[in-house]
């Protein structure tokens, strides 16, 4: 053991996207502290958008980089850059959704004072007030920064830090819904408690893996798993606990219990951010841990992941059928999609990696647009998320209903949508990897998921609108842009997926 601590070699250029996003978040904090109240919102939106666009540009410029920096703690390689770029674009869409003010009469989806006790006199006043706070922007940026760091971490300890950086702002943001405060606070508490548990598991796993490999560096963990050791117990337990932490974040069964409540209670723009970006980031980290760190221990983890994947597909698909709230339904649908994604992860091949990356890209855009549409359907008490209220929407506003129907068909994986191409990519990788049973479960559960998506379409188009049903609000350019972006990607990837497939293909190599 060297006694002197080597000073890390600092290479800032490869982590420029991360630095930019964190810098923008810090600027956001300063704006919150010093800028006059009237100018804050404009400034915050500008800072966030500029930061994310700059991050996107730098990831594009970095394309092709493959190196380990900061003492091998951060891996800047294909998957990292692909996911960071995706996260930057989806982050822009989320910020656009957060900036929407014309839907809710009192301005924005985010409450001004989150700490007020629901049901109290202050809370009633708050519901009437048109106060707007803007701390949600830096929170979102910190979270996005963490998300961009998470899949780039080549070091389990750094990965834990990233996990916390991305999670803590999300816990807060979950409690910020302007309407239905109690539900939102419940969501925040649940997410925080369960998330804290999951983080603890992850940290314990890191400790055990350190005990096994003598290092938290994924490269050295990989080297250790290559040699026959006597401490396999530490390896299995450590890996299992790491998996608990990661599977919690991706929302896999049996760690999915938080998803419906948190998705439902959070302000919908935040739900969109969570559903699209957190999943992408966590899958990136999961891929890196499994492919780089534990690739050689495949036979130790793959049975467990098979079971988790099958359970996730089945439970997500079946429970979604019983939902009556559109946000909860989308939550369970996201659980089912986690299962489909795991099929690609388990393949443990370049095809599996590129298929999963493509799936994450396609899924992120479709999801963000779907939640954006949810924000548009409103009644006097805010968003009308009960499915019965969506009856006959196709008559009242055909365009919004048709958009939503198309997004649902994409989630169901009907051809000529991005969802189909994505499913095709991961199922092909799965079958090539010999996971025939998983693919069969996958296609059967795809049919099940199609049922509840189609049921919403039936409601919207084939049912009579209720007399006192919700109205479809006309969004400002912010939400419209986010929906248009998601919809456009869903269409284009369904017809001409080749460029993005190529991109994912070129990106499908971890540096180690």
């Amino acid at each position: 053991m060297p006694t002197d601590i080597p000073s890390p070699e600092l290479a800032y250029a490869p982590i420029a996207p991360l630095l930019i996003v964190f810098a923008a978040a810090l600027v956001g904090v300063l704006v919150e502290a010093f800028a006059p109240r009237a100018a804050r919102r404009t400034l915050q939106i500008a800072v966030s958008l500029v930061g994310l666009v700059a991050a996107l540009v730098t990831t594009v410029l970095l394309a092709g980089t493959e190196e380990l920096v900061f003492n091998d703690a951060i891996a800047v390689d294909g998957p990292t850059l692909f996911l960071q770029g995706t996260l930057a674009v989806l982050g822009i869409a989320s910020v656009l959704l957060l900036s929407e003010r014309s839907l809710d009469a009192s301005g924005g989806a985010v409450v001004a004072r989150a700490a007020v006790l629901p049901g109290s006199r202050e809370d009633v006043e708050l519901a009437e007030a048109t106060e707007v706070q803007t701390e949600v922007y830096p929170l979102a940026l910190f979270s996005l920064g963490g998300m961009m760091l998470f899949p780039a971490s080549n070091n389990l300890l750094l990965m834990f830090v990233a996990l916390e950086v991305l999670s803590l702002p999300l816990y807060l943001m979950a409690g910020l819904a302007r309407r239905r405060r109690l539900l939102s606070q419940e969501a925040a508490v649940k997410y925080f408690l369960l998330g804290a548990f999951a983080s603890a598991f992850f940290l314990y796993g890191v400790a055990l893996v350190y005990g096994y490999a003598g290092s938290v560096d994924l490269g050295e963990v990989a080297a250790a798993t290559g040699t026959a050791g006597s401490n396999d117990g530490l390896l299995f337990l450590g890996l299992a606990m790491l998996a608990v932490g990661l599977l919690f974040k991706v929302g896999a069964v049996p760690f999915q219990a938080w998803t419906p409540d948190v998705y439902q209670g959070s302000p919908t723009p935040v739900t969109a951010l969570m559903a699209a970006c957190t999943k992408i980031s966590a899958f990136g980290a999961l891929l890196r841990v499994l492919y780089v760190g534990f690739g050689r221990a495949e036979w130790d983890w793959s049975p467990m992941f098979w079971a988790v994947a099958i359970l996730t597909m089945v439970v997500g698909g079946v429970l979604a059928i019983t939902q009556t709230d559109v946000k909860r339904m989308l939550a369970y649908s996201s659980v089912a999609h986690t299962g489909f994604l795991l099929v690609g992860v388990i393949a443990l091949s370049p095809q599996g990696l590129s298929g999963t990356l493509f799936y994450l890209f396609a899924y992120g855009f479709t999801t963000i647009a779907a939640f954006a549409v949810v924000t548009l359907v409103r009644d006097s008490s805010g968003e009308a998320t009960h499915l019965a209220q969506w009856a006959g929407l196709g008559r009242k506003s055909p365009l919004v209903a048709a958009t939503f129907a198309f997004l649902l068909f994409a989630l169901a994986g009907i051809p000529l949508t991005s969802g189909f191409m994505a499913k095709f990519a991961v199922f092909t990788a799965g079958l090539e990897g010999g996971a025939t049973a998983l693919v069969v479960v996958g296609v059967v559960m795809s049919a099940v998921t199609a049922f509840f998506y189609a049921r919403v379409v039936v409601l919207m188009f084939f049912s009579e609108p209720a007399a006192d049903g919700p109205t479809v609000a006309v969004p400002s350019a912010y939400t419209a842009a986010a929906i248009a972006l998601g919809l456009a990607v869903t269409v284009v990837l369904g017809v001409l997926p080749q460029p993005v497939l190529d991109l994912a293909d070129r990106a499908s190599r971890f540096v180690s």
């Binding site: 068909f409 009907i414 051809p415 000529l416 025939t436 693919v439 049919a447 039936v458 084939f462 497939l501």
Partner: protein, 560 residues
């Protein structure tokens, strides 16, 4: 001529209705008449182009003609590859004939219900419903609704207040694009894309413009088809993985042809099953047929014609194009079981048809029986059987299409689908009754009409390999005579009794309706007398398929 053959004809055929659909969709709402006219013109243009394509097709030439192949998704080895063999060509021609007919026949079907009622002379729907429940008591027969899960919903459900007329016609044209694509595709992936995407327009046609239980029927249709389709997706991927293990992964049909030699029998049977179940649901073969009576009964008449006439043919077409040539060994092993299912379907469909009180359900069940014949002809592995089956596909499209149309004309007048509500219609509407009879006779395969030739060929082809099955299936021919003639007798003959809202008068077919149904009847007669041009096109393709399967016709002895 030579420069004409160089054009990408099949792509053009597919694009014209797509452009038409977009055109109709962007018309300002309120211009319903214009939308209908545009749809009709576009479908007629497609028909004209199809006739030209048929003229350019050389029956003795290459197996696939009008071939085009471009890389689409190289990452998956997917090509945009189209081409038509004789089988695909006649089915595309069938589509081209049926779509203008459907557009013409559905002229008022998407209009707001109030207008439709006014058009037929009216008192109200409730009166009709009351009349139907009263009269249905007169006909005993608890067997009638063997599998109808629930009584029809209250009639108020039947009056969707506002429906978009142009959307209906846009969907029809969009469907035409997909249907042409599914038959023209020579890349399995492309075929799959059309196979699944085709469901969506039909789903909306049934769900938005159908009868009282339309959303139930649309859902059932979508889920059954999607379930089968997804199993097929697994098999398609499996096929790709096998081809990738031999080098470059591909979906091109002709490159996949020899692939079965690299598969173990288990793999072959597994992949065969994936395709087979999807096609059997689509076709539909017994016991995968239960969605069809609901979908057929609730779909608007035009939708039902295309559903049963064309969409379901994708299933039988799939047997012939994909199941047999790609998995010959599995087809040989499982063939006899499929034949058994087909025979059951023939008898079961016919028996259930006889028991139906609902006209559209009855016609749907006759199709279950007919698809049994088609399947039997295909899996008999004889040239006669398969040629007969392909001819049957075309004829069934014409005859069932005509039958659905005429039944639809009757229903739009009486606002009831129940047989007991009608009696002696021939007295007041002789043209309607006449076309009804002719369509019915064609459905029961009367000699002289086109369906006879195909049914005869199928039976002949089956007999040389599976005599017992052929004999049992021949019973189905007798049952067909029963269900058709009973239906005709009950509704058209006897004392005059009409749904209450009509009083004692029923308007006969209008010019538009005659124009819609006449081409189908004419084709049935012409092809019944002179099927040679069709058979000339079909036979080489069937022989090529037989070669792919590696089977020859059995020697014509009784004990083969």
């Amino acid at each position: 001529m030579s420069d004409l053959t160089g054009l990408p004809w099949l792509t053009i055929l597919g694009l014209v209705p797509l452009v038409g659909a977009l055109l109709v969709a962007v018309l300002p709402s309120g211009r319903d008449a214009l939308a209908k006219t545009v749809a009709l013109v576009v479908s007629l243009v497609v028909l004209a182009l199809t006739i030209l394509v048929c003229a350019l097709f050389e029956p003795g030439g290459d197996r696939f003609q009008f071939v085009q192949a471009h890389d689409w998704i190289p990452a998956f080895g997917v090509q945009y590859a189209v081409g038509a063999d004789g089988i695909a060509l006649v089915l595309i021609a069938l589509i081209a004939v049926l779509v203008p007919v459907v557009v013409l026949a559905s002229w008022y079907d998407a209009d707001p219900q109030a207008d439709r009622l006014r058009r037929v002379s009216v008192s109200g729907v409730r009166a009709a419903a009351a009349g139907s429940s009263a009269s249905s008591r007169r006909v005993g027969g608890g067997t009638a609704v063997l599998d109808a899960p629930a009584a029809p919903s209250p009639p108020s459900d039947e009056l969707p207040p506002r429906r978009s007329v142009k959307t209906f016609f846009a969907l029809l044209l969009l469907l035409e694009t997909m249907m042409i694509g599914v038959f023209a595709a020579t890349d399995v992936f492309l075929f799959y894309v059309f196979f699944e995407a085709m469901l969506i327009p039909m789903y909306f046609i049934i769900g938005s413009y159908g009868g009282p239980r339309r959303s139930y029927a649309a859902m059932k249709f979508l889920l059954y088809s999607l379930f089968g389709g997804l199993l097929m997706l697994a098999a398609v991927i499996g096929l790709y993985v096998v081809s990738a293990s031999q080098g470059e992964g591909t979906f091109a049909f002709e490159q996949l042809l020899g692939l079965h030699e690299q598969m173990s029998t288990t793999v072959e049977i597994a992949l065969f099953s994936g395709f087979f179940i999807a096609f059997a649901i689509k076709a539909p073969l017994f016991p995968f047929h239960t969605w069809l009576p609901d979908a057929g009964a609730e779909a608007p008449v035009g939708g039902a014609v295309l559903l049963v006439g064309v969409l379901d043919k994708v299933g039988t077409f799939g047997f012939l194009r994909y199941c047999l040539p790609l998995f010959p060994e599995a087809s040989r092993i499982l063939g006899p079981y499929v034949i058994a299912l087909c025979v059951i379907g023939i008898l079961y469909g016919a028996l259930l048809a006889m028991g139906q009180k609902d006209l559209k359900r009855l016609v749907s069940y006759t199709s279950v029986a007919h698809f049994g014949f088609i399947g039997m002809g295909i899996f008999a592995f004889t040239t006669q059987g398969q040629s007969g089956a392909v001819l049957y596909m075309v004829n069934h499209g014409l005859s069932t299409g005509a039958l659905f149309l005429v039944v639809g004309f009757l229903i739009v007048r009486g606002r009831s689908r129940l047989i007991p509500d009608y009696s002696g219609v021939a007295n007041v509407a002789p043209i309607l009754a006449g076309t009804f009879l002719l369509a019915g006779l064609s459905s029961l395969a009367l000699p002289g009409l086109s369906t006879f030739i195909s049914e005869f060929l199928v039976l002949l082809g089956t007999y040389s390999r599976y005599p017992v099955a052929a004999v049992l299936a021949a019973l189905g021919v007798i049952l067909a005579a029963l269900y058709v003639l009973l239906m005709y007798q009950r509704t058209m003959q006897g004392p005059l009794r009409l749904p209450a809202l009509l009083g004692d008068r029923m308007p006969d077919l209008r010019l538009r309706e005659v124009l819609a149904v006449a081409p189908l009847l004419a084709l049935m007669i012409v092809l019944g007398v002179y099927p040679k041009p069709l058979l000339d096109v079909i036979n080489p393709a069937v022989e090529a398929t037989m070669q792919d399967v590696g089977r020859t016709d059995p020697a014509p002895t009784a004990n083969d």
